[in-house]
Amino acid sequence: MADVNIKINNVDYQVPEGITILEAARMANIHIPTLCFLKEVNEIGACRMCVVEVKGAKGLVTSCVYPVSEGMEIFTHTKRVIDSRVKNLQLLLSNHNRECLSCVRSGNCELQSLCRLYDIREDSIYDGEKPMYDLDGSAVHLVRDNNKCILCRRCTAVCEKYQGVGVIGPNERGFNTNIGSPFNMKLADTSCVCCGQCITVCPTGALAEKDNTFDVFSAIEDPTKHVIVQVAPSVRAGLGEEFGLPVGVGVEGQMINALRALGFAKVFDTNFAADLTIMEEANEFIQRVQNGGKLPLITSCSPGWIKYCEHYHPDMIPHLSSCKSPQQMFGAIAKSYYAEKAGIDPKDIVMVSVMPCTAKKFEIGRDDQAANGVPDVDIAITTRELARMIKRANIDFLALPKEGVFDDPLGKSTGAGVIFGATGGVMEAALRTAVEKLTGKELENVEFTEIRGTDGIKEATYNVAGMDVNICVCSGTANANKVLNMVKSGEKNYHFIEVMCCPGGCVNGGGQPRQPAEVRNFVDIKALRAKALYDLDKERPLRKSHENPDIIALYDEFLSEPGSHKAHALLHTSYIKRPMYNDPKSHPVKK
């Protein structure tokens, strides 16, 4: 596109035609504040924080959606603009629970930082009627406090557009507008998939994960318990952000050292279980192909995706891989194989998982996820909660040694396990194993780059041992919905589909650090975090799951072979059809 000449604060610039004032100002290193705007997802111009003055315009102009044009003269910090933003913040505060001291977002709240920026002192100038909302803590993974909601609608936009779920939305009108579920149902009674995407985009403390950090601290304190931890691949790609590092800096070593410092008896790697998952899932795929089983086979690592499938596409349940997710496989092995080796009663083991994911909090309580008579995993915390624990334990995270090694016997992993965190990673890892198993030949190049990248839906066809294998990789359940509909209509004929609930995969999971809109709108967070994982993969001496010596040992000593009776008992699970909404009659209707 052609360039246009504009002036920002009396300085001349040439910027591409068609971009917004917000983007043009960014090019001029002016960061106009926003609250509601999320590029391509929530472009509704509602919060009015981003207003600027444009010469000749009647009122103030909404910079987040207003395109630049030739000769435009923009002023971004006149008194008129600043007064307006101040009033805007004062009004938001007049309808806001201002208990910042005890708020989970204090310190990284977007509203709070704008209030500081604009020196809002008279925060009660417009105090008046305030609707009082009950907290909704019904769901296992999050708490909604509408008294802190500023109605930016970022949460509803991601729920509807990214996830195709839409169980929350704006209800009522005018001053009474509020974000909630139909008929004021509790979130737990809806078909929410627990992905937590709403939490990651919320600018305030209105949405937060259910905090389990105190449970972990208490478990560690308990002398009768053997508390071990597993960490998912994506956590190491995101955790650094909580300590001020830029997006995409891997912190595997510091993370391992911090976990030890917190007092976990063993620090294990979920990547180990990722390798194990590949062994089972690749085997399942080969079995289904060879024995005429249900195809396409669809991956089952992502508990948000599984819940989505159970609510929205229960007819596709037979296509789901029966493999447990790596988190659950890990727990099942820890409480059997490891317990046996270490001579500890599984009942005395507390299995903590650190996940980039809020749906994992739901998954640990599912049926058929307690292979040894005790839950496979006891406590699932998110990346954010881990950061909170590290801070609370006064650990100087950035000063910790960058080298760190996971404990044996469940700590070794291959590059295949590492890339589970990025969309396409599970598929790539599975292909590395399945292709070699099917062809009996070693792969020349283990990188399946066609299915890398952050596109929502990716496809490829590989000729494996004389058979064309059509695969599809998608992320974000709205995309999964599209793919499933294409499969059902016969438009597509896939053999193997990877679905990740969150757009971009686990690196962008609902439990990952929250980045403000200012970053989200200009940086591709999911691509940068994924790159950190692909870099780790490259560095690993072993890059194929079936070459992991500890996995080989696990099968030799304990499971015998993929798909064995014992493997089934420990590592596979079942699914159920779930209703869209729980019985309405159990909830009195209130307007």
């Binding site: 919060c47 009015r48 009122g59 009033k87 704006p170």
Partner: protein, 619 residues
């Protein structure tokens, strides 16, 4: 249908019905106002009486315009003499039937001139002879009260669909747009955007993209009902104009978004659409040309904000009627993301005439930048409430004193409110300002859709501003911060003022907040919501100050500031008030002056109506 067919229908209906030299034509105003006043039994009575009499034809028509005097019956004799009867009942109708229709002598007691208060009108035997009517110039309302809106033939007889025929057979789409541009017609819905320009913006890429033509019939301004009158009295004018616009911009589909509160208008629109389709005036290949155009109705569901153009489209799309930021403008990305033009009913009603009579004819009327006429709905403290269509540039004084017949009960004019909740109050000092778009904005009000509410000395301007604000707070969609929270806070400050709890600091906050909302809100509703406050602050600041500093409401309206007391000189101690008082606030012994305890008094006024001595005073 060909143009010749149209002409033959026209000739037939003119000679047989509208200009018949054989039959007496009796018209009963059956718009909502008439129906509400009891016009249906009148119509039934007349139909029953005239049954079998071939010399008398009784038919319904739309709003005749003078709502205060409904039900209205007009009699047109074969010599084309017209008589207007007002406030007709079935009994009166029977007398009219016997004496006038059969006997040939008009009944003087029910004549418009007899009933209307203005002295000069005394001799008027028909509406056209009244000052109320003579000062008007009817273009948009040309057929209201003239034809039966449920008969397409009668519309055709008044040159209906000739304009559509003309554009399809003799004009290019660009010619049509040029005519609209030259006419100077501006949107009658509120903001006054030039109609031709709007069409021009949407005219690119004809034939290659789906486009839409929409009619905004979501007339929500309290006090405005001209759109309803047009839809009930002349629905085909809107359909014809929309088809003309469809041809001009290259659209094949139109939507009319009409308030669900207008059942009569909806019913007549449905009939009109069906009739037009039946005659091939809507549908495929109109007048045998390549042009096809269809119209569908969408009913509103009770949200004032849907009168805002982007909200209206969001609503037609099946969503919460929340406005979208502009750009993109609807002409580029409107309904279903396609280029769309939206005009309001009154705007549409002007268009067929502009096409037939030419741009010059239209632009010769009005002021420099506001051409043509504007319909106002007169209401409030005025003698002749109803619909009036005046040439742009008429003064407020002419509208109120002459057309409106002045203020009842000899009270003094205080202010007129135009533009509904988006507009402002015009005070006496601007009585002589010629009414047009730009003048109204300059004096802090706006044209709006044309509600004109007159207020007299008994109205409290602070209370009026608060009332409008209550309306916008209720109707705010809740999307943007300034409107959702700001208007509510503004109202809270107003409540503080009217309850005597405000300080002068609050007045400062009020003004600052109002100015901020005006600048910062997302859509027209929010941007104009503070206008009633700002305009009353501008012209009636002293009333605000009286509420704040003296804790007094000068007009005696704001309840919390009133003090009820009993004049001991007038009180005879009958005890009637005491026995009626719901809170027991009145004390006293029989035959001695009573007193009211202001702490207990809830200012309900029961004592005032109970007292036969008029001894209860309110200060």
């Amino acid at each position: 249908m060909k143009l010749q067919d149209l002409n033959s229908i026209k000739e037939r209906v003119l000679s047989d019905v509208l200009e018949s030299t054989e039959t007496i034509r009796v018209l009963v105003g059956l718009a909502t106002c008439g129906i509400a006043s009891g016009a249906v039994p009148v119509m039934e009575k007349l139909t029953e009486l005239a049954a079998g009499n071939e010399k008398i034809s009784v038919s319904k028509t739309g709003c005749i315009g003078i709502c205060q005097y409904e039900p209205i019956v007009e009699v047109i004799t074969p010599d084309h003499q017209k008589t207007t009867y007002v406030k007709v009942t079935p009994e009166k109708a029977e007398i009219i039937y016997k004496e006038h229709l059969l006997g040939g002598t008009p009944v003087p007691d029910y004549l418009v001139g007899t009933v209307l208060p203005s002295g000069e009108d005394e001799i008027a035997t028909c509406l056209e002879e009244t000052i109320f009517y003579k000062k008007q110039h009817r273009i948009a309302l040309r057929n209201c009260g003239r034809i039966d809106p449920e008969q397409i033939d009668q519309y055709i007889a008044t040159d209906g669909y000739q304009a559509l025929g003309k554009v399809l057979t003799t004009m290019s789409p660009d010619d049509v747009i040029q005519t609209m541009l030259d006419s100077g017609l501006r949107g009658r819905g509120g903001a006054g955007f030039p109609t031709g320009l709007k069409w021009k913006f949407a005219s690119g890429n004809r034939g290659n993209v789906q486009k839409y033509v929409c009619c905004n019939a979501d007339e929500g301004d309290p006090g405005a009902f001209m759109d309803r009158a047009v839809l009930e009295g002349d629905p085909h004018a809107v359909l014809e104009a929309m088809a003309i616009a469809g041809y001009a911009i290259g659209a094949s589909m139109g939507y009319i978004y009409v308030r669900a509160e207008y059942p009569t208008a909806i019913a007549r629109l449905r009939i009109a659409i069906d009739q037009a389709k039946e005659l091939g005036l809507l549908g495929d290949n109109i007048f045998g040309t390549d042009f096809s155009f269809d119209i569908d109705l969408r009913l509103g569901s009770g949200a004032f904000v849907c009168g805002e153009e982007t909200a209206l489209m969001t609503s037609i799309e099946g969503n919460r009627g929340e406005p979208r930021p502009r750009p993109p403008f609807p002409a580029v990305k409107g309904l279903f993301q396609q280029p769309t033009i939206l005009n309001n009913v009154e705007t549409w009603a002007n268009i067929p005439r502009i096409i037939l009579n030419g741009a010059e004819w239209f632009s010769s009327m009005g002021t420099e930048k506001s051409k043509g006429t504007k319909v106002f709905a007169l209401g409030g403290k005025i003698n002749n409430t109803g619909l009036v269509e005046i040439e742009m540039g008429t003064t407020l004084r002419e509208v109120i004193e002459e057309i409106g017949g002045g203020i009842p009960n000899g009270k003094a004019f205080k202010a007129a409110q135009t533009g509904g909740p988006s507009g402002g109050c015009i005070s006496k000092e601007n009585y002589e300002v010629p009414i047009d778009y730009d003048n109204l904005i300059a004096i802090g009000s706006m044209m709006g859709s044309g509600g004109l509410i007159v207020m007299d000395e008994d109205n409290c301007m602070v209370d009026i501003a608060k009332f409008f604000l209550e309306f916008t707070v209720d109707e705010s969609c809740g999307k943007c911060t300034p409107c959702r929270i700001g208007t509510r806070r503004l109202l809270e400050i107003m409540e503080k003022i009217t309850s005597g709890n405000a300080t002068m600091k609050d007045l400062e906050h009020l003004e600052e907040l109002a100015t901020y909302i005006k600048e910062d809100a997302l859509c027209g509703l929010g941007q104009t919501a503070p206008n009633p406050v700002l305009s009353t602050l501008r012209y009636f600041r002293h009333e605000y100050e009286a509420h704040i500093k003296n804790k007094k409401c000068p007009a005696g309206v704001c309840k919390d500031l009133l003090v009820f007391s009993i004049n001991p000189h007038l009180c005879v101690g009958c005890g009637l008030c005491q026995s009626k008082c719901p809170t027991g606030a009145i004390f006293g012994t029989l035959r001695k002056p009573h007193v009211i305890n202001p702490e207990i008094c809830i200012r309900c006024g029961t004592c005032i109506s109970a007292c036969k001595q008029e001894a209860v005073e309110v200060v």
